[in-house]
């Protein structure tokens, strides 16, 4: 009778092991990509052909279907990073490190997109590309924080050490997120207050709300897909670095 000595891994432990994580989540990427493409196809069809033009803003209202989801993601991605930072600091979870690192450029891209589309939308409706309004300013600050985090990651050679230092900064920078959320209530200057998630229900008509929600899920799944792919890439990149170092030291295997 032989005794089975191979370690039994629970799914939680498997998630903590980079190689196992890749094996476990690899099958998810194709369905996620398909789902994202499907949602975008439906969302864009709704946005362009099956939703009314606004009676005041005309066709420019369609910018909203990109602007609002990217703006939501600019904050959601930061929340993902902050949760990963806690996971990295408290449990030293190796995948939390990786997820924190790969989310930063994605968040920066979504934030830049939200600012860009907002600017395009602001020109015809508000008459200005840029105004130092509370929400715009705080979102710009968020973009700078994202870019600072990316720069900080790149400044370290040792990525394990970088993770812990970046985690501290990520949590400090998280102060900005509630400021962005409530900026429209504190400084009611130009940007409109919350119109979708309100205690008394959304202030938009259903014909606009449906495409908005579809695009909302499309962009969210785009983030999830890109994030997972980026995590896989990062795991492989680290493995290659390790192999290169071993080869440089003349070790075989």
């Amino acid at each position: 009778m032989s005794i089975d000595t191979t370690p039994k891994m629970s799914w939680w432990n498997r998630l903590a092991h980079p190689g196992q994580f890749v094996i476990l989540t690899k099958p998810l990427i194709l369905p996620l990509t398909a789902l994202t493409a499907l949602l975008f196809a439906a969302g864009l069809w709704f946005a362009f052909f099956n939703s009314p033009a606004d009676y005041q803003m005309g066709d420019t209202v369609r910018i909203m279907y990109v602007h609002v989801p990217t703006a939501w993601l600019s904050q959601f991605v930061y929340a993902t990073m902050a949760v990963s930072a806690i996971g990295s600091l408290v449990w030293r979870h190796p995948m939390a490190d990786v997820s924190m690192k790969t989310a930063a450029p994605l968040g920066a891209a979504f934030t830049a997109m939200a600012l860009f589309t907002g600017s395009l939308w602001g020109r015809p409706t508000w008459g200005t590309f840029w105004e130092w309004d509370g929400r715009m300013t705080s979102t710009l600050v968020l973009l700078f924080i994202y870019l600072g985090i990316v720069a900080l990651w790149r400044a370290f050679d040792d990525q394990l050490r970088a993770a812990r230092v970046v985690a501290v900064f990520t949590l400090v920078g998280a102060v900005n997120i509630p400021i962005i959320k409530f900026s429209v209530d504190w400084w009611s200057t130009l940007h409109q207050p919350a119109s979708v998630f309100r205690p008394d229900g959304p202030t938009m008509h259903g014909s606009i709300l449906t495409p908005l929600f579809v695009m909302f899920f499309a962009f969210t799944f785009l983030f999830i897909t890109l994030q997972l792919t980026a995590i896989h890439t990062e795991v492989r990149r680290r493995r290659i670095t390790t192999l290169e170092r071993r080869a440089a030291r003349g070790e075989t295997r």
């Binding site: 300013t137 900080l152 400044a155 050490r161 501290v168």
Partner: protein, 221 residues
């Protein structure tokens, strides 16, 4: 507590005997203010209007200049490693360094700020308000500065990254700092801005030593 005091004394002494670095910083502060009239034109009305902003920007830039010497030399000669092992908690050491940083960079700048009143033709009430807002607000800049220096101390080219990290965090300090001087939002606004600036300063000075100590501790092996 004695550890805290001796670190504070050591830092201040190092700055005072460090070959006039403090005066160079003051000179930098004054020069930043002095080149603005060349860039925007010597219009006295315009200069008086933007003077509070110029003073704050000059102070912000000058305080960024001194960041690299906050932890860099200590790390290079191994003092930082000893601080990590010492009985005095690292956060207390960082707090002492924040206070010393403020005493040796911000305080000289504030003492030099009357020059700005002359150069930028500020009136006396505005100048007093500027002095008060600098006194209240610069501790927050010192706290953020220590955080930025701590985050980047283990990197090779941290000197460039620290300002990028600190600048977005310092935006509220600048907003309320300038708001405490110029009553653009009505007569009651300056008082509110001053109180918010004070609250911000207290929070930052109280919390950043802990965050900075964590960053230093985890940045080393």
């Amino acid at each position: 507590m004695s550890g805290f005091v001796s670190v504070l004394r050591r830092e201040v002494n190092l700055s005072l005997r460090g070959g006039g670095e403090m005066l160079t910083l003051v000179l930098f502060f004054v020069i930043v203010g002095a080149i603005v009239p060349f860039a925007v034109g010597p219009d006295k009305v315009l200069l008086a209007r933007i003077a509070p902003g110029i003073v704050w920007i000059a102070a912000f830039l000058a305080m960024l200049m001194g960041l690299e010497k906050l932890f860099g030399p200590d790390r290079a000669d191994g003092t930082l490693g000893l601080y990590r092992l010492a009985d005095t908690p690292l956060s207390a050491v960082v707090a002492a360094k924040v206070i010393a940083h403020w005493l040796t960079t911000a305080l000289p700048l504030i003492l030099a700020s009357p020059i700005f009143a002359l150069l930028l033709s500020m009136d006396l009430p505005t100048f007093w308000r500027t002095l008060v807002s600098l006194l209240i607000g610069t501790p927050a800049l010192a706290g953020f500065g220590a955080l930025g220096a701590a985050l980047t101390v283990a990197t090779r080219h941290g000197g460039l990254i620290a300002p990028i990290l600190i600048a977005p965090l310092s935006v509220p300090v600048l907003i309320f700092g300038v708001g405490a001087i110029s009553a653009s939002g009505g007569p009651g606004q300056t008082g509110v801005a001053t109180l918010l600036l004070a609250a911000l300063s207290l929070m930052v000075v109280a919390l950043t030593p802990f965050a900075a100590a964590l960053a230093i501790d985890w940045g080393e092996d």
